[in-house]
């Protein structure tokens, strides 16, 4: 970290600090933050009290560590209310959850990652694998693969060059040629299935949402391999495609 403590540096650090929180990291201490950002403890403390003064982080009185603040929920709600795809899509994926009994998402591709814009939980007390705003690698999720399938070949090749096809499980596709072949097939059939490619024991099924004649997002359901099983792939896939088509259609007629 540069020695100069100019103004844009502190905002940079504040935004990086917020980025340290993740699904697994819900609380951070001052020293931890200082170490991770490579800044002095006193600076980390000043960042925290500034963020706290606006409610972006909150101090846990018992542990003296910090977590993200609830006022962020209000801002997040403003973002979702702005996005037409969510306004149109949310009731449709809610129905999809009721129909299939699995959690459903709407996701987009952003900076080479799958970004979940909205999630509806099913009633199974499941595996907390995704949440709104969560980012996942696209090459091993059905939500990502189905968007990839409609991209030009050089887009995919660039992605592979930049990110590689990192193996997450023994079932992750790691060979570029095989990956391209799978994408071709996905495009032909109009949906993607990802069985245990990111998490063992978890399968997801996704279908594309079209905006202005381009695949811009996807609808997916995610659940245990015990429930999303080859014997019911057909009916589940049908429901997912139906939901995605419904959203595409509604967006067109808006």
């Amino acid at each position: 970290m540069a020695k100069t403590k100019n103004k844009s540096n502190s905002l940079d650090n504040a935004l990086k600090l917020l980025d340290l929180f993740s699904m697994d990291v819900s609380e951070l201490g001052v020293t931890e933050i200082a170490n991770k950002l490579g800044i002095a403890k006193s600076t980390a403390h000043r960042l925290l009290i500034t963020l706290e003064s606006e409610g972006f982080v909150m101090k846990n009185r018992e542990t003296s560590r910090y977590h993200l603040g609830v006022p962020l929920l209000a801002l997040g709600n403003l973002v979702s209310s702005r996005l037409k795809i969510l306004e149109v899509g949310r009731p449709i994926i809610r129905q999809l959850v009721e129909k299939t009994g699995e959690s459903a998402h709407i996701a987009i591709l952003k900076n080479g990652e799958v970004f979940y814009l909205c999630k509806e939980d099913c009633k199974h007390p499941v595996e907390m694998l995704t949440h709104i705003g969560r980012k996942n690698p696209p090459h091993c999720t059905s939500a990502g693969k189905v968007i990839f399938a409609y991209k030009p070949k050089d887009f995919i090749e660039n992605y592979i060059k930049e990110h590689g096809l990192h193996p997450y499980t023994p079932y992750t596709i790691t060979h570029p040629e095989e990956f391209l072949r799978v994408l071709k097939q996905i495009k032909q059939q109009g949906y993607a299935i990802s069985k245990e490619e990111l998490h063992e024991g978890i399968t997801s099924i996704a279908a594309p949402i079209t905006v202005n004649q381009q695949v811009a997002a996807s609808v997916s359901i995610v659940g245990s391999i015990k429930r999303i099983h080859p014997t019911n792939y057909h009916s589940l896939t049908k429901s997912v495609i139906q939901a995605a088509d419904q959203i595409s259609h509604k967006l067109k007629t808006l």
Binding site: S26, T50, L68, L75
Partner: protein, 267 residues
């Protein structure tokens, strides 16, 4: 809670201003230009420009290519998504509150205590919502709301002391003794009813939510206009709300209610 504790002189100006820009956004107005922001927050235009550029580069703001103005970006959605994940209670309460709202036809909230305030994690609106002083993520003084009072009633003595001391202007119409008597009463009966303390003509009924240790960590409330609430019997409403709160507590691993019910059945 905003100002106390921390010394304002230690705040980092650019961070503070950047967050003030983000918080400027509100539902009726989704886009701002640089000049507008500078005007609203009384910050120099060049500074606003620098902050907005930085916020855009990190996805906290986005520029609308048509209007050239700025709106909140997806990074915000990412952070708020984490908040909903980290607060287990946010997740486990939704499946309880939705049916409650459908059944009662009134709006329900889930709130937690943050210092002398409560913050709403959920607001689930009914079909005929009345305008309420609540929205998700918003703070209200704990001593003024049904849900706040019911959470407070179960807190340790020092905490109650702390909140009363800090809430000065909010309870000027009541003495400390009156507040304490009210909280005692709420704890004894297990629910709160607050009439018209924040909004005229509005009643709020609150019940406590416990975590697996039995500690009251949140509260739910059902809020509606006096005449509609009166039409349903209060006792009926209170029963439903207490039951819903107990169900959320159970989802969080608190089992006393189950054990009690089981022992009642046995007897």
């Amino acid at each position: 809670m905003q100002k106390d504790g921390a010394n304002e002189k230690y705040f980092l100006g650019s961070v503070k201003n950047a967050i003030r820009i983000l918080k400027l956004y509100s539902r009726p107005k989704q886009e701002y230009g640089i000049t507008e922001i500078a005007h609203q927050l009384d910050i120099h235009k060049t500074t606003v420009h620098r902050l907005v550029t930085k916020l855009c580069s990190k996805g906290f703001l986005e520029q609308n290519p048509h209007t050239k103005r700025y709106h909140l970006g997806l990074s915000i959605l990412g952070l708020s998504g984490l908040v909903t994940t980290h607060y287990e209670i946010y997740r486990v309460s939704l499946h309880v509150l939705k049916p409650l709202v459908d059944e009662l036809g009134e709006t329900a909230h889930l709130a937690i205590l943050e210092d002398q305030h409560i913050v709403y994690l959920h607001k689930i609106e009914c079909r005929h919502p009345v305008s309420l002083m609540s929205s998700i993520g918003q703070r209200n003084p704990a001593l003024k709301t049904g849900v706040g009072k019911v959470i407070l009633a179960y807190q340790p003595e020092e905490y109650i002391q702390h909140v009363i001391a800090k809430s000065g202007p909010y309870h000027c119409e009541k003495t400390e003794a009156q507040i304490r008597a009210e909280l005692d009463q709420i704890k004894k009966q297990g629910y709160s009813i607050v009439k018209e303390e924040i909004s005229k003509g509005i009643v709020s009924i609150g019940a406590p939510v416990k975590d697996y240790t039995g500690k009251v960590i949140a509260g739910i409330s059902v809020v509606g206009p006096l005449d509609r609430i009166k039409k349903m019997k209060t006792g009926f409403l209170v029963d439903k709300i207490i039951k819903a709160a107990a169900e959320i507590s159970e989802n969080l691993g608190f089992y006393e209610t189950k054990q009690k019910a089981a022992s009642l059945e046995r007897n």
